[in-house]
């Protein structure tokens, strides 16, 4: 017998003659305390994100590219990691061209092994889309993809995320249900609630632990 058989054998013997505990999942308990009126939902999300040092900005489908340029200019950043293969990537590139902005856009187009050093040490900011948000906890939902790989939202010190206001749900249960998560999850799914942080030294909160030092969420109100 191998370890698996021995472990399972012991566990099965221990349960002999018993019945499984029924699944009486209480949906109300994970949804009712976390419901928000339509006009309160975005405010709640922003409040929760800002409480953990996230920055949020209300904007529109027409104006967000300019907001990105402004945010980067204010920080003296002249290079942005953004996927040219996404609609928002193309939209930003177009805006940069129109404006004749000095911002250099680069894509995540090779496997990470091929450009680790550049990604880790010479990529000051990134921009990604999101799959939605959760008002209850102030969370962004990210499903990294071939266009927007996992590390895009983790390694650059500034992460800018685009969030469509219409895709903000009240709570995690509602979001998982609406997006049918049990039909199939990606290799990596993430909830992101603020920039990285730690309180490991004397309970003192410090931001910018190993991930982004800043998280800027552009909430697109008319999308």
């Amino acid at each position: 017998m191998n370890a698996k058989e021995r472990i399972l054998g012991k566990l099965r013997a221990s349960l002999a003659g018993t019945t499984a505990v029924a699944d009486d999942y209480d949906i109300g308990l994970v949804t009712d305390p976390w419901r928000y009126a339509a006009d309160e939902r975005i405010a709640r999300l922003r409040r929760m994100l800002e409480a953990v040092h996230g920055e949020t900005l209300l904007t529109t489908a027409a104006e967000w590219p300019q907001r990105v340029l402004e945010a980067l200019a204010a920080r003296g950043i002249d290079e942005l990691l953004v996927s040219p293969a996404t609609a928002h990537g193309r939209r930003l590139a177009e805006h940069v061209r129109e404006q004749g902005a000095a911002l250099r856009l680069k894509g995540y187009e090779r496997a990470v092994e091929a450009w680790k050093d550049e990604l880790f040490f010479h990529t000051p900011a990134s921009l990604t889309g999101t799959l939605g948000g959760i008002a209850a906890t102030g969370s962004l939902v990210l499903w990294p993809s071939p266009q927007e790989p996992r590390l895009m939202s983790l390694v650059p010190p500034l992460h800018i995320a685009l969030l469509n206001a219409s895709e903000v749900r009240d709570n995690l249960f509602e979001l998982m249900h609406a997006q049918r998560w049990t039909d199939g999850l990606p290799t990596n799914a993430l909830l992101v609630s603020g920039p990285s942080k730690t309180a490991d030294i004397q309970q003192t909160l410090a931001y910018g632990a190993h991930g982004p030092k800043e998280l800027l969420v552009l909430v697109i109100e008319d999308a």
Binding site: S14, L15, A16, G17, T18, T19, A20, V21
Partner: protein, 277 residues
């Protein structure tokens, strides 16, 4: 409450349902008093004061002379068989219909909650346990919720701190009952002390098996009580008082805690019965 027919020993356990608020019977004419072993030996005055308080409310008190200990010391030390036999002896003494009033929250918790575990394999005994559990009240709870006392303070204004034993607090809500009784008394200001809900370090055999940890806890507790600005300390549990008072004495401090029953008897009149016995 535990069910009368226990699941098999290997069944996966689910936490018992949330306890509904306890429903209280009307005030009875007769009660049993279970005095507890600590009170019997070290604080008999507190036991007598509990009896007098009940009599002041017009209740006849019965004290079965064959009573001894609830079994808790052996139970928490892991000597379950010995605890069970001592528990069985008590069970037989309080078999009538009268409520059982106990001037100690931790012993009351033993009667009310832990006898189910002790007798889980004895369906016949469990019926008696069920009855005893339903009739068991901690003294402050009984005065407040069953007798519905209205006490009037007859002494000088005083600042006082209330220490509640951990099992009394967590198993019997004794802290709430004690606070409610004290809140009836004009001129009695109950002051909070630092880390009030924290254990005093007694824990029965814990205090002798782990003396240094227990000692650190009781030193913090006495410091908190002294730091509260209270002139008097009361508690509804004599185990804690044994510990706290012993520490005060060792430190050469004059402060001593007394049982809530003693404070109430000495410093109040019952508005319901018009005063002293």
């Amino acid at each position: 409450m535990s069910p009368l027919s226990p699941a098999p020993a290997n069944a996966t356990r689910v936490a018992p349902p949330l306890e509904a608020a306890r429903r209280y019977p009307p005030k009875p004419a007769d009660v049993y008093l279970f005095g507890t072993c600590v009170i019997d030996v070290f604080f008999p005055g507190a036991g007598m004061d509990a009896i007098h308080l009940l009599e002041r409310e017009g209740i006849r008190v019965h004290f079965p002379q064959a009573q001894s200990c609830c079994g808790q010391p052996a139970y928490t030390s892991g000597y379950t068989d010995e605890a069970r036999e001592v528990a069985r002896a008590q069970l037989a003494l309080f078999a009538g219909d009268w409520p059982v009033v106990i001037p100690s929250g931790s012993c009351a918790g033993m009667f009310r909650h832990h006898y189910f575990e002790l007798f889980k394999d004895e369906p016949q005994t469990l019926k008696q346990v069920e009855s005893l559990s339903a009739r068991t009240f901690e003294l402050a709870e009984f005065l407040l919720e069953v007798c519905k006392v209205r006490f009037e303070h007859t002494g000088a204004p005083v600042k006082l701190a209330l220490h509640t034993s951990c099992s009394a607090r967590r198993e019997m809500n004794t802290h709430l009952h004690g606070r409610a009784l004290l809140a009836q008394l004009a001129g009695v200001e109950r002051v909070e002390h630092d880390h009030e809900s924290e254990c005093c370090g007694f824990g029965g055999s814990f205090s002798v098996r782990m003396p240094d940890i227990s000692g650190a806890m009781v030193q913090d507790k006495t410091a908190a009580l002294k730091g509260s600005g209270a002139a008097e300390v009361v508690s509804a549990d004599c185990g804690c008082l044994l510990n706290i008072n012993g520490c005060f004495e060792k430190q050469g401090d004059a402060l001593r805690g007394e049982h809530l029953a003693s404070f109430l008897l000495r410093r109040t009149a019952s508005a319901g019965t018009g005063g002293a016995r």
